[in-house]
């Protein structure tokens, strides 16, 4: 590792080179980071610096110093560890500075992952409470939100973790996931604002994550398992790529067409726009131009959402709504990015029984994974290794042509004889 060239921790810089432009505040100079303060986009550096100057938390100074040092040396200096709260095995991402001799104020910088409400909805009272507790125990840095959907309270020392958690927990907040267990979920805004929502994803999210709350806190599977809940195939949560269990709203019957609104749309934008921007973009040519309007062949429609997106006033999903379950999404590690694939083409999701049936299926799936998976193997990798057919047999699902894009092109299987 390179030599240090950051400022002396804990006090204003005393080198010769800094000169008179040096700010006379709580923080040490961070000339490189400061370059990220210009430009129109909001600057996290400015935010951190203001927070530090106001609160004078040494941890903030130390972390900024270490970050400045990283910007100079182009290396990171955090190492992991293990910190938890009572009876939990996960939810805190532990960070110790590898160069705490240089930056003792940065010695500890742990993150608490907190599960927000599905859909990332807040009222200001909740949020202010959260801020107050966090300012009391932690650094005051909040990430809204982590890519897995957590509120990330970044920067706390080990000795304050339990107390901070207790205060948060009293206000209805609980830790999110980490390690080889169930992870925090993500939902799009869904029925909270969106006309496309085909099921109540916020409700299912809440139920599912409550159901698996033990597995969030005490991870003991092969590897992580992520849920994401998108209200429709637009998949505003990126569920297909970013979650092992992608729950995506869909419908079975015909798209609802308001022919008056279709006409209004065509009157406004023209037939050319209808053809070029709607009809020609249908992936299966399910839409035909008819009497200056459109005709959708339900049998050919694959529920891609495009025509509905393009004509939101005129078209909406059908009435027989529910979910599709896709499985196996994950990112690059080991196998290269894996998009989830369709496992359950359709399932109703209206009543509490529907939710229960869904959760039972997920339990079944996890049991199978427990039996068949290897260490550090995501469920999509297990399915691929063991075989989709074998997986379906294992969890008792029937094969459906929708699960694949085409039948096999090789004869390499053993049929029963």
């Amino acid at each position: 590792m390179q030599e240090a060239n950051g400022g002396t921790p804990g006090k204003a810089c005393q080198c010769d080179g800094c000169g008179p432009e040096e700010r006379d505040g709580f923080l040490n100079p961070t000339p490189v980071l400061d370059e990220l303060e210009s430009g129109p986009w909001p600057s996290f550096v400015t935010g951190f610096k203001k927070l530090a100057e106001r609160t004078e938390k040494p941890m903030l100074r130390g972390v900024l110093d270490q970050l400045e040092y990283s910007y100079n040396t182009k290396m990171g200096y955090w190492k992991g560890g293990l910190v938890t709260v009572d009876s939990y095995g996960a939810g805190i991402i532990t960070r110790y500075s590898m160069i705490k001799d240089k930056f003792p104020e940065a010695a500890e910088f742990h993150t608490m992952r907190i599960q927000p409400a599905p859909g990332l909805h807040y009222n200001t009272a909740m949020l202010r409470e959260l801020c107050d507790i966090w300012e009391e125990y932690g650094s005051g840095i909040i990430t809204l939100h982590g890519q897995t959907g957590d509120i990330m309270l970044q920067g706390i020392e080990q000795e304050k973790v339990q107390e901070c958690f207790d205060e948060l927990n009293k206000k209805g907040w609980d830790l999110g996931g980490a390690g080889a267990g169930m992870r925090t979920g993500v939902s799009c805004i869904g029925p909270g604002r969106c006309e496309n929502a085909c099921y109540d994803n916020l409700k299912l999210h809440l139920n599912a994550l409550k159901h698996f709350v033990g597995e969030v806190h005490r991870p003991e599977w092969n590897y992580k398992l992520k849920f994401k809940f998108s209200g429709c195939p637009n998949d505003c949560t990126n569920a297909i790529m970013r979650s092992d269990l992608a729950v995506i709203g869909t419908w079975k019957d015909a798209i609802q067409v308001d022919q008056d609104e279709v006409r209004a749309w065509v009157d406004e934008k023209g037939v050319e726009a209808l053809v070029n921007n709607v009809i020609n973009h249908c992936p299966t040519k399910a839409i035909t131009l008819k009497d200056g309007g459109i005709d959708i062949s339900t049998r050919d429609c694959v529920r891609c959402m495009h025509c509905i997106n393009a004509m939101p006033k005129a078209l909406s999903p059908g009435k027989e709504r529910g979910i599709s379950l896709l499985m196996g999404g994950k990112n690059t590690l080991k196998v290269g990015v894996n998009l989830g694939s369709l496992i359950v083409p359709f399932m109703k999701m209206e009543s509490d029984e529907d939710i229960e049936a869904f959760l039972e299926l997920i339990e079944e799936i996890i049991d199978w994974w427990d039996d068949n998976g290897l260490d550090h193997e995501r469920i999509g990798e297990t399915i691929e290794r063991v075989g989709l057919k074998q997986f379906l047999e294992g969890v008792g699902l029937e094969a459906d042509i929708n699960m694949i894009s085409r039948p096999r092109d090789n004869p390499y299987f053993k049929a029963t004889y």
């Binding site: 938890t84 009222n123 200001t124 801020c131 609980d174 505003c236």
Partner: protein
């Protein structure tokens, strides 16, 4: 961690409940929305079956926020949206109000407090990103700094809606790519196999775990100075960095040899074409803090070409599929090279198995 003096008994509640976090107009019309419009960039209007309308004002944030910033957002929500706000999956903050007259003042206030209003419709929205040097234990670069640099340079595209379709960006500080795939993604790409810190190795790593982590079986047990340790077969190693996650002694990060790669065409939505994975179109870009000009330059080129050539509703990958990869490289001025030819598990399926050819 057990604390004997603790009096509070943990409630394993899971996610926070949401009912009380929904605006009353949302609660009333929950699940019964009819359509939406985008009256101007940064503003959505959703109309319910009941005839109620709710306006959303969307603004960018640095994501790495502070309690101070969040309190400012709360102030604005209290003033203009009855104390309700939410965040999008892309780190933007949203204020929902049924009062149309609140929209313009709210926009002014947001802008004056440094939160750019935009990110709706056919724009470049905020960047999905990760921890980097700020917090992660395995990063080769920073994430927030890269994002700030990128968004500064394409600020206008966040506030306008002049792209052929939505453009999603992401950036990640190691090849694991917690930022996820996107229309255009900026991801660290290591170029040099890990150097093993033999002194640390046996103390901090379970050897078999590190061996198991390697996707190409490039790590082998060995003995050095009588001590059990590991070695890397550099011929086999594909510089994925997976071992480093399992064992910090497999030092993959390097100030010079950890580079940036740019990827395009990732698409997660099912609209029109099926979702698709993204493709490598530039690599070996230097890790050049604090502003990463080489990276933002490439992003700019791609966006310019797409903005010019894409047809309405075509996402970046769909545009490329129409015009072909050859033309993509021509129009962006990027250079195709043989490292971009897939060599991994399903490489065969990416070969051009046809006589279709462009000149």
């Amino acid at each position: 961690m057990s604390n004997p003096e603790r009096t509070w008994k943990t409630i394993e509640s899971g996610p926070h409940t949401y009912e009380e976090a929904l605006h009353p107009v949302v609660r009333k019309n929950y699940g019964r929305w009819k359509y939406h419009e985008i009256p101007r960039p940064g503003v959505l209007k959703h109309v319910a079956e009941s005839g109620d309308a709710i306006y959303t004002v969307r603004a960018g944030t640095p994501r790495q926020d502070t309690v101070d910033m969040v309190r400012v957002m709360c102030d604005i929500a209290d003033r203009y949206s009855d104390g309700f706000l939410r965040f999008t999956v892309r780190n933007n903050v949203e204020f929902l109000t049924p009062n149309e007259e609140n929209v313009e003042p709210m926009i002014s206030e947001l802008e004056s407090r440094g939160f750019p209003v935009g990110g709706t419709g056919m724009c470049v929205s905020s960047v999905a990103h990760t921890q980097g040097w700020l917090h992660c234990d395995i990063p080769a670069t920073d994430a927030s700094g890269v994002v700030k640099s990128m968004m500064d340079s394409i600020y206008k595209e966040f506030k306008d809606m002049q792209m052929p379709n939505k453009v999603r960006l992401s950036t990640s500080c190691c090849a694991i790519n917690c930022g996820g795939q996107a229309d255009i993604a900026v991801v660290v790409k290591h170029t040099r196999p890990p150097r093993i810190n033999h002194d640390h190795l046996s103390q901090i790593c379970e050897l078999p775990k590190a061996v198991a982590r390697c996707p190409v079986a490039a790590i082998r047990p060995t003995v050095i100075d009588g001590q059990k340790t590991l070695m890397v077969d550099e011929k086999k190693c594909i510089c994925c960095g997976a071992c480093f996650g399992a064992c910090p002694a497999m030092e993959i990060n390097h100030p010079e040899h950890s580079k940036f790669a740019i990827w395009v065409g990732g698409k997660n939505s099912n609209a029109r074409s099926k979702p698709s994975t993204m493709s490598l179109v530039a690599h070996n870009l230097p890790n050049n803090p604090p502003r990463w000009p080489e990276v933002t330059e490439v992003i700019g080129r791609i966006l310019t070409a797409y903005k010019e050539g894409g047809r309405p509703w075509e996402r970046v990958g769909e545009w490329i599929n129409r015009i072909g990869w050859k033309r993509f490289f021509e129009e962006t001025g990027l250079t195709f090279d043989d490292n971009m030819i897939d060599s991994y598990r399903h490489a065969r399926t990416t070969f051009n198995q046809s006589a279709h050819v462009r000149f």
